[in-house]
Symmetry: C2
Subunit: 329 residues, 2 copies
Amino acid sequence: MVTIKEVARLAGVSVATVSRVINETGYVHEDTRRKVEAAVQTLNYTPNEVARSLYKKKSRLIGLLLPDIANPYFPQLARGVEDIMQENDFRLIFGNSDENRSKELEYMQTFVQNNVVGVISSTMDAEADAYQKLKMPVVFLDRTSNDSPAVYADGREGGRLAAQALVRCGSRSITIMRGPEHIRPAQDRFEGAAQFLAESGVLYETLQTNSFSFHEAEYWAAELFNRFPETDGVVASNDIVAMAVLQEAHRLGRKVPDDLQIVGFDDIPLSRLLSPSLSTVHQPAYEMGRAAGNLLIQLIEQQEPPERNIQMPVQFIERDTTRKVREHG
Amino acid sequence: MVTIKEVARLAGVSVATVSRVINETGYVHEDTRRKVEAAVQTLNYTPNEVARSLYKKKSRLIGLLLPDIANPYFPQLARGVEDIMQENDFRLIFGNSDENRSKELEYMQTFVQNNVVGVISSTMDAEADAYQKLKMPVVFLDRTSNDSPAVYADGREGGRLAAQALVRCGSRSITIMRGPEHIRPAQDRFEGAAQFLAESGVLYETLQTNSFSFHEAEYWAAELFNRFPETDGVVASNDIVAMAVLQEAHRLGRKVPDDLQIVGFDDIPLSRLLSPSLSTVHQPAYEMGRAAGNLLIQLIEQQEPPERNIQMPVQFIERDTTRKVREHG
């Protein structure tokens, strides 16, 4: 690769002068500027981003911190972030925190050491000091914090829609599977569903789960039918758990949706391919990733964004784990 | 953040001297070294990785290029790579190529601009000049190239195991769904299955598919039953396609596994949660990611690795889309 030194030699100026021209970081006489630009062209020189980041004190790198890319919900978020960053000529440094505080802090540290200009985080603790201390913009994705910029889906409405679908289609003994306590969107979903059922006077039980992981989904599915065998409608904490419930129902000979209705959450791409295909609440994960990326870029470029807290709409997707109702007919 | 200047000021030496001490890049008198180390401790100074990468001409950044992180097979590879890199204090710059040549080249370019010290690529063209031209180690993951370092699963054996399972359990009219032509592991699977069936004298049809994407999986599933309605055993090109075939079979009232057996490929985590759960060929995706990371680190550190081409074993996972046979019983 051509170096800045070679450009300086050809232009007959110092390296510092070349960098001033390339990075527009100081006065350079017009003739000198022309010489440098000519040399850059002749040698087809690509400025080294690391050198730029030192001269300009900024890189084009963004830190992206996810709980676990292997959980099928997060790749869509990541893909949305990556696409918008790609379009805007930013690049992602990427890490999984496993909701583990020390891994989270370690990544924050290395993000700083690599001069990232902003961070997008989907990890557990939007309140953590580490984020407050970062001297750069941070956007939380699928997580919310009191005052930090954040992009998340309307979990409360999502929970309401899921419960409503079950009741509309005749479930009368519903179990809500409640997601991990430290994840606020999961609690919003629970509250949305619980409130709707309370207002509708429909009985419901609550099964508190402590993870979204598919390793534990089968355990929670078995628990559900052990503890609440009379359940005829399930608000699952996400699509993975819903799949496990569906499988357990088959194993127990419960007919879905005739005897048991199930509604998932997320609408991961595979939920459409299940048999029966999964009725679920769609989160616009890809769009959420793009929106978070957009918000971060606005903050980096010090434009005041129209909103710093973006709540995205959710939507009930009727498939075959809920019964069809003819309304007014 | 504390700067190298402040360290130099406190130690009463030049910035260059501090950097020589920190980066061990030249002789420094013992007393001077002690002064600098004391100053570093007093100020609790963390060397800036970008500065280091300029002084040492190397960063701790690795480029990871995947076709599409939203395809459920790749996050496990990525997770394996990320974990081994994390353990060895490297970080990942990450991009999706969508099997698109110009996106692929654009990422190569930005990897170079960000001074990555190595690249792991799962994209289409292991032969591409772009990779040869890179003046750094490259490891191909889930892709193979004639001479480049690569980590991939034994596709041929995988195809053989899938076909063997169907034949052992009584399928006599088998369709092999053949994956995208430009992906060599997919062709290896096909050849392994085709060869076994030919040797066993079992009839088979071939359905050439041109994508692993779940957007098209339903189309291929429908095609399968249109073109080859008498099929009683399917070697699917991956688990996503197998899910779509399973769903289409339900729709058509074909009983799985009694009338129709299906074997997937990959063993993505969700395949276990299907109803019936999917019999498939397990690729050790996470371990493949770790192995690729390990190989790259050895190349970066100029240790001669024991092998530059690592083929990982595959394994047939018997679940409920294939019939049980009592051998010798």
